[in-house]
């Protein structure tokens, strides 16, 4: 682990010393406009990989999807050769968005403003009145079509997950992800997937509050009370929280059937609202099926900066973070199953989807938690949070009562941001 830089100053954000056995994050880092701008440059357009789409979303030649990396609009498109391109969605002429649809299939991209046309590799193929009309007007004679294409960014794909980077010095994707995260991805993306739908959630808070949330197993059984009530997931279960070597990615895992109801009565005896007497009128909601060669029932795999891959029981999803401003982001959930799911498995996934997403019985609280923090820190002055559960260090843990991965996130974040 690379040591954190103590007390350094970025854009007038003062990071407190870490001399008291915990880690402090100054609230200004969530609210400051300059910090947001620097993040766009150094993180989202920095030397790392951002998730843009699943290959299953654009299976055919000409299929495209519009999305964002940070706040830069991009089009993910499958070319006529079957390759995946990620193009910046901005006309080379005067900057209009070239692709105005969320999804579709096309053989070319054309800007509606002045009809500049591009092929699916981003090459400029047509400029109306390029040679003028009756000898008048037109582009300069030295205008080169080849130099005015859509900007194409680097793309790498792992098991159907498409990532893009703006930089040429970004290490290759598997190196960036690290061996642990790669094997966790390969566990879930082990065969052809089938997209079951998307859900979108607009959260009025800073995106990093969500990055903290998904690296925080400590909150799971305390904020999401549906878990504790129905025994889907408990802190007394066997679980772990591990990071890649840099601490930037995090893998939370919990296994099923490893804790008893009695243990929980004891562990939660001092918590609010623990009520194991609460029973579902229709327990078919919780009906699931073992589908992996292990007992893992929960995986929250957070890939820096904008992706979460999840398995909660039989629900499988990717969640993409799209930033809009220091205090607004969108969370785009893409739920999926496998191509070879039978009808029963498909029904299980659809029904269990009630647990996740913006209306999810066990996940809806995260949006509110982010906003609760955001509202209270907007005028934070020089105040900061205090993160110490599990020891206050960016360390992996073989339990879930830890905030180590949050510290890992911040240490890597600070390496990317200007000192």
């Amino acid at each position: 682990m690379i040591g954190a830089k103590s007390g350094f100053n970025n854009n007038s954000i003062n990071w407190p010393d870490e001399s008291e056995g915990g880690y402090r994050v100054p609230y200004g880092v969530f609210t400051d406009e300059n910090v947001y701008r620097e993040e766009q440059k150094n993180i989202f357009r920095g030397p790392l990989w951002s998730f843009v789409a699943l290959e299953a979303e654009i299976p055919n030649r000409g299929d495209f999807k519009s999305t964002f990396i940070g706040d830069v609009p991009v089009v993910v498109v499958r070319s006529n050769e079957g390759e995946v391109n990620v193009l910046i969605n901005r006309c080379a002429h005067r900057g209009a968005a070239v692709c105005r649809k969320l999804r579709g299939n096309t053989s070319y991209l054309e800007c509606v403003y002045h009809s500049w046309a591009y092929d699916l590799d981003g090459n400029l193929t047509g400029v109306p009145f390029r040679r003028g009309v009756r000898g008048k007007g037109g582009m300069p004679s030295d205008f080169s079509m080849a130099e005015h294409g859509l900007k194409k960014i680097n793309v790498q794909i792992i098991n159907g997950l498409i990532f893009g980077t703006f930089r040429s010095d970004t290490p290759d994707l598997e190196t960036y992800l690290g061996a642990r995260m790669v094997s966790a991805i390969k566990r879930i993306f082990n065969r052809e997937i089938k997209v079951l739908g998307d859900e979108r959630q607009r959260i009025h808070g800073n995106w990093k509050l969500y990055a903290e949330n998904v690296r925080d197993p400590y909150h799971a059984s305390l904020l999401h009370l549906f878990h504790t009530t129905f025994g889907l997931y408990r802190s007394t279960q066997v679980g772990s929280c591990v990071m890649d070597e840099m601490g930037r990615h995090s893998l939370l895992v919990a296994s099923q059937g490893t804790s008893s109801k009695d243990d929980d009565e004891e562990a939660y005896s001092n918590q609010r609202s623990f009520n194991s007497k609460f029973e579902l009128q229709d327990p078919s909601l919780l009906k699931g099926k073992r589908e992996f060669d292990d007992d893992i029932s929960l995986v929250i795999l957070s890939i820096f900066p904008n992706l979460v891959i999840q398995q909660i029981s039989n629900t499988l999803a990717v969640r993409q973070i799209v930033t809009y401003s220091p205090n607004e982001f969108e969370l785009v959930w893409t739920m999926f199953g496998y191509e070879d799911d039978d009808d029963e498995m498909r029904r299980i996934r659809i029904k269990q989807n009630n647990l996740i997403g913006p209306g999810g019985l066990i996940s809806m609280e995260d949006g509110e938690a982010v906003e609760l923090v955001n509202r209270a820190i907007t005028h934070g002055g020089g105040d900061s949070s205090f993160i110490a559960m599990g020891g206050g260090k960016a360390e992996s843990a073989d339990h879930l009562i830890t905030e180590g991965a949050i510290i890992g996130f911040w240490q890597y974040y600070r390496q990317l941001m200007p000192t």
Binding site: E199, Q201, L225, T229, S273, D282, N354, P358, M364, E368
Partner: protein, 162 residues
């Protein structure tokens, strides 16, 4: 367009009145009564137009029994954490799409305005209902209510039914 008979007009009024009572039940926070608008083996879904139009199955909420509706409400009251809010439903006159001796299908626009504790109101969701109604012991009940929302990016979370 064929002339409306007196019984058509009566039916429209009856359906409008049902939908108004449904909205008043939710807006009045009498959520425990909400499942009673449905038959036992019902389907209630809140689905984005984005998924509906692509014929993809994922919904923000999907209940396939009256008991699941009850569970949603118990969870809302007992387990879920959310910002305190009030809903105000504005619904259009229902369009009757088909009717037979045992089933009526309708489509109706809705607008849900949400007011938070701060006193600020915003449009939480705009969309349409697609319904299948049956008459049981003289009362119209939902066999199916599909809420298809245009407001595709859900603000913060969704906990209260539409």
């Amino acid at each position: 367009m064929p002339m409306k008979t007196e019984s058509d007009v009566w039916l429209e009024t009856e359906i409008s009145s049902l939908f108004s009572r449904y909205a008043a039940c939710i807006d009045g926070d009498r959520l425990e009564e909400w499942p009673e608008f449905f038959v036992e083996q019902c389907c209630y879904k809140i689905q984005s137009r984005e998924n509906y139009d692509r014929k993809l199955p994922i919904s923000a909420m999907e209940c396939d029994s009256k008991n699941m509706l009850v569970d949603r409400i118990v969870s809302l009251r007992e387990a879920n954490i959310f910002a305190e809010h009030m809903y105000r439903h504005i619904i259009s006159i229902p369009l009757i799409l088909s009717k037979s001796d045992n089933e009526i299908t309708t489509q109706t626009n809705y607008l849900v305005i949400s007011t938070l504790q701060s006193g600020i109101s915003h449009i939480f969701s705009a969309g349409r209902y697609q319904d299948r109604l049956v008459r049981i012991d003289g009362q119209l009940k939902f066999v199916e209510r599909i809420v298809i929302f245009d407001t595709n990016s859900i603000r913060t979370q969704i906990v209260t039914p539409i």
